[in-house]
């Protein structure tokens, strides 16, 4: 095994181009587990912790360019207003020790269906900034997850940052596990209201081979809110609309039975989380719109 220690981003891209099998390591919270247990013996480890810009974020007019290695702790502490869904999801990641090391780049690189950041990124709307010596490209989050622990990155590409749209309305994140800390999600759900475009977006974790959106549920709710003039009136979502939304979210899942839970349970729990997060976000939207008028 070789330990590659680029001092800068260009050097890292050159190393990845020269050694496409090199495994990038930042927080180490996935890679080191695999090495410690002998599940993986990469030929090259590519240490990204010495590249300052990966640990930085920039807040622009419409979004945040979040460096791939910004630890979850920093997201919780600094980006709660801009990225409320992701900040909530970050807070559910493992433990303080892990949140001090792990970041969204690792979650995306591993692309586990259980990664906590994914539902929040899907709901908020995000693009992954991937770069190689050949150039840089933005991959829409919806096109990023290609299979179980597979993503759209080319072998010579590294994740530089993720561009996440700034919240224009309430966002929520919910996760089912056996306790608060150190839990791999049994299933998880993210919901973002986008009053500017009068749309809602969802994200489901751990209930399909990849993180997914519940598109039919989004379309149903968008239509129901539009039809009722709810974005303007701020009137309550009826129980029947919430129920149908929950059912469609459950129906979007393609879960499996595993040690953490059964497929049936996951489908059920996603529906419950969908209904609850809809209530929380919509009530919060009503409160804000009342305050504004």
């Amino acid at each position: 095994m070789d330990f590659l220690r680029p001092a800068g981003w260009e050097e890292a891209l050159a190393a990845k181009a020269e050694h496409p099998t090199a495994v990038p390591i930042a927080g180490g919270t996935d890679v080191m587990v695999e090495i410690n247990f002998g599940h993986r013996r990469p030929e090259y480890l590519l240490d990204l912790t010495r590249i300052p810009e990966l640990h930085e974020w920039e807040t622009g007019e419409d979004g945040v360019r979040l460096g791939a290695s910004v630890p979850y702790t920093k997201i919780m502490e600094n980006l709660r207003a801009e990225l409320p869904g992701l900040a909530l999801a970050s807070h559910t990641v493992a433990s303080p020790q892990i949140r001090n090391r792990g970041g969204v780049g690792g979650n995306l690189g591993t692309a586990s269906p259980a990664g906590d950041a994914h539902p929040a990124l899907l709901a908020a709307g995000a693009e992954v900034e991937a770069e190689s010596v050949r150039g840089s490209r933005l991959i829409p989050i919806d096109a990023f997850y290609t299979g179980v622990k597979r993503n759209a990155l080319q072998p010579d590409e590294l994740i530089r940052a993720v561009h996440v749209r700034k919240a224009d309305g309430p966002q929520q994140f919910s996760k089912v596990g056996t306790r608060n800390a150190m839990v791999i999600a049994v299933c998880a759900f993210g919901l973002a209201l986008h009053p500017d475009t009068r749309t809602v977006r969802t994200g489901i974790g751990s209930a399909a081979p990849t993180p997914i959106r519940a598109r039919a549920a989004e379309e149903f709710l968008n239509a129901a809110l539009e039809e009722g003039g709810s974005w303007d009136s701020g009137k309550a979502v009826t129980p029947s609309v919430a129920q149908r939304f929950a059912e469609l979210c459950s129906a979007a899942c393609a879960p499996i039975d595993d040690v953490r839970g059964t497929a049936d349970y996951r489908r059920h729990a996603v529906g419950v989380m969908a209904r609850r997060t809809l209530t929380w976000t919509w009530e919060s939207y009503r409160d804000t719109s009342k305050g504004a008028s």
């Binding site: 070789d2 180490g28 919270t29 080191m32 240490d47 493992a94 303080p96 020790q97 001090n100 090391r101």
Partner: protein
Amino acid sequence: MRVNLTVNGRPQQADDVWEGESLLYVLRERLGLPGSKNACEQGECGSCTVLLDGVPVCSCLVAAGQAEGREVVTVEGLADHAGRRAGGTGARTGEGAGLAPIQQAFIDAGAVQCGFCTPGLLVAADEMLERNPDPTDEDIREALSGNLCRCTGYEKIMDAVRLAAARQSEGGRA
């Protein structure tokens, strides 16, 4: 490969380090510092918690090469670390000499059973008290949520951290 790092204020060098080796292994097996414990090797238990550039991390998940040039504090250096923070006035005399206030509080509160989780808990709790001198019970539970104690000694551990916080604020007022 060779790894140079500062551990508990002292420059250290480890040779013949395997590239996939963890910082924990380097500390325990190469630098003679077995205070940080090796249990789960997957970041679940917190018994290997150390400060890396002042931040609590699981040393089992830090690749040795990532610690190159960094500063590490282990439980062995905790008393000095806490003493330096208190401006050298935090050192106690008598029975508790050479212990950080959090270590003394663990002893006084009976927060140690088998002791395996203790080093990690001490490092995590000390860092919380540095950041948050007046923690609520919720704050303490959250700060220690990545440290497992299988003797189920959590209540005594809570007592110990509350005791250390109270002593710290008394000391601050005096």
